[in-house]
């Protein structure tokens, strides 16, 4: 009777519509976020992650309204990320019905923000999002750094040290995206996932690169992830969340069926 490994469909939302880009290019429209979240909920998703990629300020209000609609219809945990920079942003998202918020570049800009957010709202609702890229040369011991701007700009920060530090500051969970794999459909960066999961005491969500159901299995069994996140394999009807769970269960992974 253990804890089930979680499957988390991710919605990248721009101005109230779900989109999915390959390495942030070639964005395709995938529909209404609330409708899609409801479908995943019915299929047995364990959580929903909503990533707001809207740049404009006016778009933010659309996001809050979408989150509010989603939270009135979908009764599983909802994480919202993208553009969370101030305590007021967190409060607005929680008030709209989000259960957790994910913080990314604001933490890099000012690490104390994570501490303040955890102290104010509790560690259980603070997810630290890490975009990591492999920087070691072939043959060297593996090393990853934090990247920003969709993987284009390096920060020189070691990904493992960063994860550990942010957990010490109060992050309750880590959403770990491999920028080398995101959008490639080649599978998670397993060594990265495993290294972070073994370094920190909080749950780690593996993200970036899922192209087959076997990749989800690998993320848990080889990457030691506590949860796996995927977008495009679910959005375009290739697989349902139920099929993903059946595949994981067949591989001996405990899931909520």
């Amino acid at each position: 009777m253990g804890l089930a490994k979680r499957i988390i469909p991710c919605l990248d939302v721009d101005k109230g519509r779900v989109v999915k880009g390959v390495r942030f290019l070639d964005i395709r429209d995938a529909g209404d976020p609330v409708e899609i979240a409801r479908r995943y909920n019915e299929q047995g998703a364990d959580e929903i992650t909503f990533l707001d990629i809207t740049a404009s300020h006016e778009g933010r209000d659309t996001t809050l309204r979408t989150v509010e609609r989603m939270a009135s219809e979908v009764f599983i945990p909802l994480t919202v990320g993208g553009g969370v920079r101030e305590l007021a942003d967190i409060r607005n998202l929680l008030n709209a019905g989000a259960d957790k918020v994910s913080i990314n570049s604001a933490a890099i800009h000012r690490p104390e923000f994570v501490r303040e957010a955890a102290e104010r709202f509790g560690t259980q609702c603070i997810v630290l999002a890490i975009d990591a890229k492999r920087v070691s040369a072939p043959g060297e011991p593996l090393r990853w750094e934090i990247f920003t701007h969709g993987g284009r700009r390096g920060t020189g920060i070691d990904a493992l040290d960063w994860a550990e530090r942010m957990v010490a500051y109060g992050a309750g969970e880590i959403l770990l995206t491999s920028m080398d794999r995101d959008g490639t459909r080649d599978g998670f960066d397993i060594p990265l996932t495993r290294a972070v999961s073994e370094r920190v005491t909080v749950p780690v969500i593996a993200s970036g690169g899922v192209g087959t159901l076997q990749h989800l299995v690998d993320g848990v069994l080889d990457g030691h992830a506590d949860a796996v996140l995927a977008a495009s394999i679910f959005h375009f009807g290739e697989h349902t969340v139920g099929e993903a769970k059946a595949c994981m269960a067949a591989a001996g992974i405990e899931v909520r069926l």
């Binding site: 804890l3 490994k5 929680l94 709209a96 989000a98 102290e119 560690t123 749950p203």
Partner: protein
């Protein structure tokens, strides 16, 4: 007149999920999110949710003068449902934040999961305990229609250790066995989040909205 359900607001975190889930299962009810002791005292049912750190929660509760009305509600025979930190606040004392005295409505303490817990395969268990775990039930009207061993959504680093085994209405295992639900008279309290536990959680909330407070 439609029934009035008070959702106790003491300024901490997200009560909206709870209010939205209650509105979903009891559309005819009047759901009042309130920090006013008079409103809480006059409601037909009381929901006492909670997220965040216990010291701030207790501080805000005392600042709003909610302690006495919660104590009264818990022994009034009116149905009361406590959730997560709401459950923990009912106990006598919590280890969180270097030790905080709680409401003392139920006997027992709140403890932190020990470091280095492992599962049967020797993997280290992460804290917080976050995700869907099975709950083994003791007979209680609020479990009606929910299979024994159903999974509910948990997110917590502390668990309640009740002094009275007879209060345990549901148990869960995560490194150790802990109380997932406590019950006494018309009071029912859960460590998990029914408002985030899909159909099983909604069923429990519906059961609560229809409960006469008797076991």
């Amino acid at each position: 007149m439609s029934q009035r359900i008070a959702v106790v607001d003491y300024g901490m975190g997200n009560l909206h999920s709870v209010a939205k889930a209650l509105a979903h299962v009891a559309p005819e009810a009047d759901i009042m999110v309130s920090d006013d002791p008079a409103v809480v005292g006059a409601a037909d049912r009381v929901v006492f949710p909670g997220v965040g750190a216990i010291r701030d929660c207790m501080g805000e509760m005392h600042r709003r003068g909610l302690g006495p009305v919660l104590r009264t509600a818990a022994s009034s025979g009116r149905p009361m449902l406590a959730i997560c930190v709401g459950l923990q606040a009912l106990m006598e004392h919590s280890e969180e934040n270097a030790g905080v005295d709680c409401l003392g409505i139920l006997p027992g303490r709140v403890r932190r999961f020990p470091d280095g817990m492992q599962d049967e395969d020797g993997n280290t268990l992460k804290v917080p305990h976050m995700g869907w775990s099975r709950v083994a039930q003791q007979p209680h009207p609020l479990w009606a229609g929910i299979p024994d061993g159903e999974r509910f959504y948990f997110v917590h680093s502390y668990y309640v250790d009740p002094a009275a085994r007879s209060h345990v209405a549901g148990s869960c295992e995560y490194g150790l066995e802990f109380a997932a639900a406590l019950a006494r008279e018309a009071l029912f309290a859960v460590q998990f989040h029914p408002e985030k536990s899909h159909s099983a959680g909604l069923r429990l909330l519906r059961n609560f909205c229809n409960w006469d407070g008797r076991c």
